[in-house]
Assembly symmetry: D2
Homo-oligomer: 327 residues x 4
């Protein structure tokens, strides 16, 4: 339970009808106790295996460090639990294949990956329009994922373990691209660098990176992942089609307030992913619970997890070698 884990816990406890928060697991006993009290949860664990041994737990939400995801997914499924896992599915393609096998083996259980952007109102609205043919065929998918400069310290601190901007940040946009474009990228060229913070160079990473992708159906994809946005948390997505263009979040506005003062006419911006996607985290969990109750399968599958990782790896390879990479 990092910051996002606590948020998931609170959502389940207070905002998801038909779900009950039964247990919490964390190695930090202080935080564990504090959260359990705040959310009126009686069972707490410091050991994942002990938790999933409980019979009165139907489903498990995994928000652990990325390297542990696959193993925990497999264990929880084996214990007969439904499983929701935060992205990424795994840190290597081998891990992903392992997860795929587990999900296939325990096919009676619901497995869902946490690509929460798909559950944002605006993205869902845009997706419905695209699927209804309102913008014709997709020509270009463009996505920016920019973290605020003010969190740069923690980005740097995390850099050694993040896997780099493509694996850590761009995966959401890679997922969205495939979702909107309905095709897979076949080649990618990725560039970038350390424009403000040389620290990332140590890990073959950049503070801002981008890539251009060609999809099998001919569509183009351009992604930017950056860590130095001065204005806030900027998640912007555009789908240009033959009959129309949709832009989601082209102003990363905090709310509906517009300010007119000596700085001009302006909107203040979202500060972080929890502010921007607050409701999406609730909606994805509702979907997970609804799938369990209605014995349905979520749209986000275990295979999406592997595909996204493969594509992110191709981006990373292109970025590191300076060459075009065919996927």
């Amino acid at each position: 339970m990092g910051r996002l884990g606590a948020q998931h816990a609170e959502n389940i406890a207070t905002k998801i009808p038909n779900a009950e928060l039964v247990a919490l697991c964390d190695m930090d006993t202080v935080k564990l106790k504090e959260t359990a009290e705040r959310l009126h949860v009686s069972k707490t664990f410091t050991d994942f295996d002990e938790m999933i041994a409980c019979d009165d737990i139907d489903a498990v939400v995994i928000v652990s460090p990325s390297g542990l995801h696959t193993e925990q997914i497999e264990k929880a499924l084996a214990k007969g639990k439904h499983v929701f896992s935060e992205k990424p599915l795994g840190t290597t393609v081998e891990q992903c294949i392992q997860a795929e096998k587990a999900v296939e083996k325990y096919s009676g259980k619901v497995f869902m990956l946490g690509f929460m952007r798909r559950f944002d109102d605006s993205y869902r609205y845009a997706k419905a329009k695209v699927d209804a043919g309102e913008i014709g065929n997709p020509i270009l998918f463009r996505a920016y994922s920019q973290d605020p400069e003010k969190f740069i310290e923690s980005s740097i601190a995390f850099a050694a373990h993040s896997g780099g901007a493509f694996l850590d940040m761009a995966v959401h946009d890679i997922d969205l691209a495939r979702w909107f474009v309905k095709s897979e990228p076949e080649s990618v060229y990725a560039i970038g660098g350390c424009y403000a913070h040389p620290e990332f160079g140590k890990y073959n990473d950049g503070d801002n990176v981008s890539c251009l992708m060609k999809f099998q159906n001919g569509a183009m994809g351009f992604l930017l992942a950056g860590r130095t946005a001065p204005h806030g948390y900027n998640i912007e997505t555009e789908i240009i089609g033959t009959k129309g263009t949709l832009r989601i979040g082209s102003v990363p506005q905090k709310n509906l307030v517009e300010i007119m003062d000596s700085y001009g006419v302006r909107k203040e911006c979202s500060e972080n992913f929890l502010e921007r996607f607050q409701q999406s985290y609730v909606e994805e969990m509702k979907e997970f619970v609804d799938c369990i109750l209605k014995n349905r399968k979520p749209d986000v599958t275990v295979y999406d997890g592997r595909r996204v990782l493969e594509i992110a790896n191709a981006c990373k390879k292109s970025f590191e070698t300076g060459e075009l990479v065919k996927i």
Copy 2:
């Protein structure tokens, strides 16, 4: 339980931590049964008095026709319930005074009026800025409340009983004006007419009306209430101050999607008050419940209800007489 009543019920049942939806009351037994089943509520009533006689009910939410509010507020308080009432407090000043007396008599109970806009994220953000002095002293408060033309049939059907656009629609903005300006209007001039729908004329009402108010502290207030907006549900508020201006909802956008097509670059709009203020209804109920639990009093008081009615009445009088009205 009209449409809003069902929404309140659902919110309490699924989105308000520390609250339990115990009972529902409606004269329509079909709807009552359907809603009770959907929300897993065991107790249902067709009689308000029977419901408030139940001992295991701590608080009551009143969403009945306006003329019944005062009486039900008084009865519920007398039975020891905390009371949340939808606006208006009453339909006459006498009723409001009666409600005030009841609230004063049962001062140990929480009473709250449903001016939900105060609980909208954007309004709260704006209010905090105003209170922090960021825009200096208020010069002009401007507010538009425009219902979509597509609901005009139901507006016309309701016209005989609505009390007119000032009492029915402008009350939210009158409340906001007093909240932001921190002063009371002392004179008002109101005009308007039937620009598209002569049907409103029968009831001395207009399909669009407006008024200009002077506040005791010198601030100006301009309000527009209309029923013919072709673009959707348009709730826009502006506070011009000596150091800055804040606008809330100057584009009544449905979400963060921007469309570029043969109609230009555009945003689609909110369709109705439930879409626009969905979260506000949750937040105000959270506040009501929190006040009960922490033995606090809400900011929205019974006196706000009376003041708003008096001001709306003054607007109505000016509109009907064509003269300036001192309050």
Copy 3:
């Protein structure tokens, strides 16, 4: 030739085809000489009567202090010149009537008043839409004319002679209101005050004033004139109709640049009327010249000048007395 006079001179000299700048007149001989040299004008005058005695001058552009307009219009017409006069037509209704008589007497000559906003691209575009019935019948005309706070010193210095915010500032919007609504106001209620600068109180004026008007055709009009805008020169106009709404300049943007930085997502604003209406001054002069060459009459007539003054006077009276004024 104040600042605006020099601009008119430069426009005629360099941007108006079929017009030649023949002479300049100003009592400030230093400025006169400098401008004449810059614009390659051979004739200069310090006396208006001497200038209009010249036979090789076809038309005169009057940009003198307001109190002199009527007299100079009359004299120039009498000398057989076409006349363009800056607003206002006169400072009293008597003066306006005098100007009307002169224009009627010399009806072979072109007379035009400088309501330049009618020649702004955006206003013209909006007007064409309104006239084509695209927004149905007008319900509300709303206009803001806000000068930047940073020019407050000169506003205060000019306060004794400006005639007040309605006569000095709101006249443009009064003209626009009549132009868009195609009706005359029949009653007005005006309020306002000194919210930041008590200096205006000395002259029965305010730093921000507003009024609500009822037009003979039932339309409503709300005008705000202010001198304390922190964000720049804010000229915003809205026409709400039964089928649509048009807003002109709802963001008083300087240009097409959008800035994303620590202040949010923002646009910088126009600084003053010359920046905002630069091209309108050119277009109105083109129209004046074209009317002369084609023996046409401009849409802006001498009667517009008088009506606007009468309405502004009614606003002023309401502001000063606190009462509703019938026009």
Copy 4:
């Protein structure tokens, strides 16, 4: 004199102080006569060589088919004329080198290339901010150049001779990229296709193409050129820097009118390059004339013409081969 040639002629005749339109040259005698009469030009030619033989012509503006530019530039310079040439400098690098030699040989004459976007108010404003360091170091330059779908017929008709989208359309953005980023691209990957109009495929062209560039200073560049925009003429440019982001034209608005109707809240868009860049064509010509009068050299040099062509050729090569191209 195509459409743009006639515009240049009109601008020089009516909007450029200190310039006189002396002669016109076109092979279409009907149009030649009509334009000459309209603009009061006495001399007309159907032969370029005859025109530049005239002694009373100081400067020549070349708006002929691209393949003729270099030759005409050389000839006009040789006759002692100052030369303004529309883009491109030439259609091959060899032609560009020939032009460079001519410009170097006649170095006493002013030579200027028509990259008019640099003279647009908004671009100039943005450039000043970038140069002043207000957005820090450039990270990403993104540019869209999208022609309206409604001109697709003429795009198709022109496809055989246009040189393709990179040479025909993207050259303006290539110029802007170098101008803003102050570095040269060193590698490029270009993709695209025929998403709506297979006709372009015949010429190894696409109706929408894009490329990702890496600059020598590390900055990234992403360009899109498209011919199928349903909303109008969309020229959008973004410069993301380490301290801020600037966007120019993110809404390709026709003017300051905002419409609220059944399609939502919207702005209508610019229809074509003459509408969007009307004033830029005037400003660039003013600069050309001013350079002549003051014996200055323009910022846009003959070398910019060659560099832009080399880069566009690299884009084209990458697009055609599907491979990364080092420049």
